[in-house]
Symmetry: C2
Subunit: 230 residues, 2 copies
Amino acid sequence: MKLLITSGGTSEKIDQVRSITNHSTGKLGALIADSFLAQGDQVTLITTRNAIKPAAHPNLTIQIIENVQELFEMMKPLVKTHDVLIHSMAVSDYTPIYMTGFEQITTSQDLTEFLNKTNKQSKISSKDNYQVLFLKQTPKIISQVKKWNPNIRLIGFKLLVDVSKEELLTVARASLTKNQAEIIVANDLSDISDNQHHAYLVKINSVIKVDTKEEIAQQLVTHIHTKDNL
Amino acid sequence: MKLLITSGGTSEKIDQVRSITNHSTGKLGALIADSFLAQGDQVTLITTRNAIKPAAHPNLTIQIIENVQELFEMMKPLVKTHDVLIHSMAVSDYTPIYMTGFEQITTSQDLTEFLNKTNKQSKISSKDNYQVLFLKQTPKIISQVKKWNPNIRLIGFKLLVDVSKEELLTVARASLTKNQAEIIVANDLSDISDNQHHAYLVKINSVIKVDTKEEIAQQLVTHIHTKDNL
């Protein structure tokens, strides 16, 4: 079976020296890749320069991306040639457009002007006590996956922070339906540490609770390799 | 001799899952630390989790920080107990205050209200097509160093991007005088790659041009260990 796995977190440049980064060690994605490789599957892993990576393996191909645009362009053709997508990467929701001093925006007659500006300096400098950064939404890649390949089996992830179990499951179920995923792995950052990783594997008619990264990987292997599991 | 060296780049949290990071591998700072350790000096290295670090050494102490506030609190006492500070860390100029949807700022009567707001969510969510992030200046640590310890010997760094040699040297000389440094290592990001690192060591009456990280480290060792070199 050919699996496409994403891991790590994307970074969106503000200028040549600063980026907004979504934190993710890549540890879980690397573990999931290892678990499928151990079953004899072929794995393409899309990840970031700083992410933790699996050891080299004859059935493993690693592709490095930095930002959402690169991820989008890398995924589009690969989604069409793989059987399963496990999309564990922390993808930036917004990307910088323009940064300026606070004074400049207080004197503007129409704030929408800043949504069409671009910084000309390679390193944005400012003497202002306050700065303002305008950002725009990035394309929602997960919602494109089934359009690119209606037959791909999709496993998505949803990370929230400090929410109730009820809210976490509600948000995960909405993503499951909207993106036509088989499972959404729902987790709360407050429940993740080096030794534990509480998560819910949310399917259309069931929820499995797990407590470690190893269990998440094992449950995904079992799910993907068991027939009639929808 | 006791040296305090900083390396890597600080990260300022937007929320629990996103940060603005100043890029710096920490490679140069690690090399400088190694060069002084090889001379028998004692080194305290303040760096970041992801930065490249020197190999363990009996005369080396490593302290990890993440953001400017932590760097400030870590440096203040250490500056008082060291003979030399080599401050090569890429320190964030600005830190996030508040993030909100673009619509919210267009309806505001007084934009200064956003400079006093704080996000209550641990992961800022928004359905808006555009978001706005307000930031404030961080404390300029380098300008405090001589107040904390008038006797410490200070080596500073100035990184610009895509500027003329003339502008780079002018900015470096201004920093040399303002911060009472012995040397400002002035470099342009466009002149730095894996194998080369063009830089100017700017002193009050001279400029030394170097082409690699090894040369920068060696010049700093020579300068610090040679008497009457001011």
